[in-house]
Amino acid sequence: MGTERTIIKPTPQNPWLTIPEVDIRICLGTGGVAAGSREVLKAFEEELARTDMIAVIRPREDECSGQCASVTGTGCQGLCAMDPLVEIHLRRNGSHSQVTYGQVTPAMVPEIIEKHILGGEPIEKWLVLNGDEATEYNPFYDAQEKLTLRHVGIIDPEDIDDYLEAGGYQALYKVLTEMTPAQVIDEIKRSGLRGRGGAGFPTGQKWEFAAGYPTPDGVKYFICNGDEGDPGAFMDCSALEGEPHAVFEGMAIGAYAIGASVGYMYVRAEYPLALRRIKIGLKAAEERGLIGDNIMGSDFSFHIRLKEGAGAFVCGEETALMQSIEGERGMPRLRPPFPAESGLWTRPTNINNVETLAVVPWIITNGAEAFASRGYEKSKGTKVFALAGKVNRTGLAEVPMGMTLREVIFGIGGGVKNGKKFKAVQMGGPSGGCLPESLLDLPVDYETINQTGAIVGSGGMIVIDEDNCIVDTARYFLSFTQQESCGKCPPCRIGTKRMLDLLTKICEGKGTLGDLDFLEEMAQQVKVGSLCALGGTAPNPVFTALRYFRDEFEEHVVDKKCRAGICTALVTYSIDPDNCTGCRACVRVCPTGAITGERKQAHVLNQELCIKCGACYEKCRFDAVRRS
């Protein structure tokens, strides 16, 4: 804004006092913590304290003369499969080496310190990344380009100075000093950025709408949607845990563009770690004058309030989310009017997803063209995908849009676990669908994936292998949407229940061919008869399953067979006496005592007692338990 006020360029309050010779960065994302990274961090601190050669410092607080090490907890480093991940930088004699250890346990820490940190020799067998040398994990990293997650996994998300040191809040400074709101909107429009929450609506256009609507009392709202409800998606969770300030900065830039003075972050209560780091970050940003009144000394004021979601998937839908902030049941309402015209408390409101906002500062800093030069046709820039399920290298990967599914799943993800056969990739969660092997060479962009019947959605990719049943997977999603339907529209409320009943019937081996047609018809009704996207897209998992895997459905209803052995009613276990060694392993795990037999003699399975849990099948090492 062109006023006489002096706008103060944000800088770290406590610049680093010491560049540590040994720099240890440990993944403290939800995945890392689940794998035990807090214990690893503690072990590093304790073990380093024991070596009198090295002093552990906080580079911003302690000065250090001799050898010094810093130990930092970061957000998600990406390769969750190998968590806890520990990245170690050594800066000695003018050179800098960087390696990453995977699946680190506290017991490994003393050896890492002795051989690598003190001795200078990395322990290769534990390395995931080894400088420029190729490892089997390089493909996971090499194809990635991190714009959204540019600082995630590198900096300490609980230290605002870390973000500032990395250039944080400079984009907001640029906006406040050099750009008009219209220029900001134009920049985002030209970048081609589209909503990363699922719908893929052009972000700049959305801002333009919200900027254009008048407000009776000068109040407009800017909301960050962090109600990441798709089961199987965790990119927003990781972005918030790994670098909450990037999201605040994106919100402030957007608020400046549309003229909003109040912002809300709506974040799932199921993400305690993200909530904690948002609270820490917000407080720090407010103290530094980066969020709040007269940001950086300018005329622009923008306050952010945190709202914890209370556990309702439907609140990811923008009108339901606003209802929830207003303290109501989170039920979607008819659009128009769109939130841009009449949103939260009937004021013009803009809502963007976490990932969308996290990349905004990057676009402002690097320019719309830099973002638009990446990506594919109408899907520009990069997108974060959450790889999970039966894939070797589970984790978060940010890649340019337009990469093929095969490149993501087999290149970055390293293919299917345990040498199993690929069956499908589930994209877009409960609003998406399962795509078969034959479609893996399609590029990942909004338009192409929509044509398949699935959606890019928020970017969850769950790999399903031959041991998973496609009917069961469809049933899983319907049970999800049925539970999460808000109940407003009968086609969704009752229709999803009836669809679930039909799918359960098929899984239980009681389905008929007619049921498949009925299921399809019902899905069509739910699709057209529902107000919001939850109901409108709830049938997608069924549509795609029937479209690409109809044979598996027919097997269930005609042959009464589940080839994956998941639908227990359609499975029989038996023991092959020729292979059975009489080791009694299956006898021990059988919960109902259905298996009997003497040691070293072939065992017998009593079908009357068998509950088909499959425990014996999993346990047997001699291929003697048969599933049919």
Binding site: T30, G31, V33, A34, A35, C80, A81, D83, G229, D230, P231, G232, A233, F234, C237, R268, A269, E270, P272, L273, A274, L275, K307, E308, A310, G311, A312, F313, I325, E326, G327, E328, R329, G330, W345, A386, L387, A388, G389, K390, T394, L396, Q426, G429, G460, I462, I464, T473, Y476, F477, E484, C486, R588, V589, C590, P591, T592, G593, C613, A615
Partner: protein, 184 residues
């Protein structure tokens, strides 16, 4: 879910003071119903009838509406809740990686159904949709801590270790649970 385990629910006067503070904090604020319910639940562990009435009053809403909201969201509980919450994640990644078997084993180990409390009010087990640790599937969360890459056996092991930690060595851990599912 915020800090249930750290609040001393036996100190009635302390709880009342906290509740008063909460009501005061949100006095006159629009849209305060949900955070009031969340705050009250964090204090009392659940939402007893008299608390519901006072929350409704504090938010300036009829009790019927407060109840409508409380029953709409999965987070709110109208019945007492055990001290520690064990959440079995049933997100997609966990589902395809065998979450159902893990739930089964834990239910068997604790001797309660999902959604129930153990009789000593120490543990409850919930089946939830996605805790955001999909890369580590299948996952079980004990209070705010996630445990990943589980098998049914490992899940029981993790819960048993947690019990040993909070209850002291082996206290109250049923013998039979050691070999979950061995008797006929």
């Amino acid at each position: 879910m915020t800090t249930i385990s750290t609040v001393d629910h036996t100190d009635e006067q302390g709880l009342e003071e906290q509740f008063q503070e909460l009501l005061e904090h949100y006095r006159g604020e629009r849209g305060a119903l949900v955070p009031l319910l969340q705050g009250a639940q964090a204090i009392f562990g659940y939402l007893p009838e008299d608390v519901m009435k006072r929350v409704a009053h504090g938010a300036g809403e009829p009790l019927s509406k407060a109840l409508g909201v409380a029953t709409f969201y999965a987070q709110f509980r109208l019945r007492p809740h055990a001290k520690h919450t064990i959440r079995c994640c049933h997100g997609t990644a966990c589902h395809v990686s065998g979450a159902a078997r893990i739930s089964e084993e834990l239910v068997k180990y604790l001797g309660i159904e999902a959604g129930e409390n153990t009789p000593d009010m120490l543990y409850t087990i919930e089946e939830v949709h996605c805790v955001g640790a999909c890369g580590m599937a299948p996952v079980v969360m004990i209070n705010d801590r996630a445990h990943g890459k589980l098998t049914p056996e490992k899940a029981v092991e993790v819960v048993r270790a947690f019990r040993a930690e909070v209850e002291g060595e082996g206290d109250g851990v049923p013998e039979a649970a050691d070999e979950a599912g061995t008797e006929g």
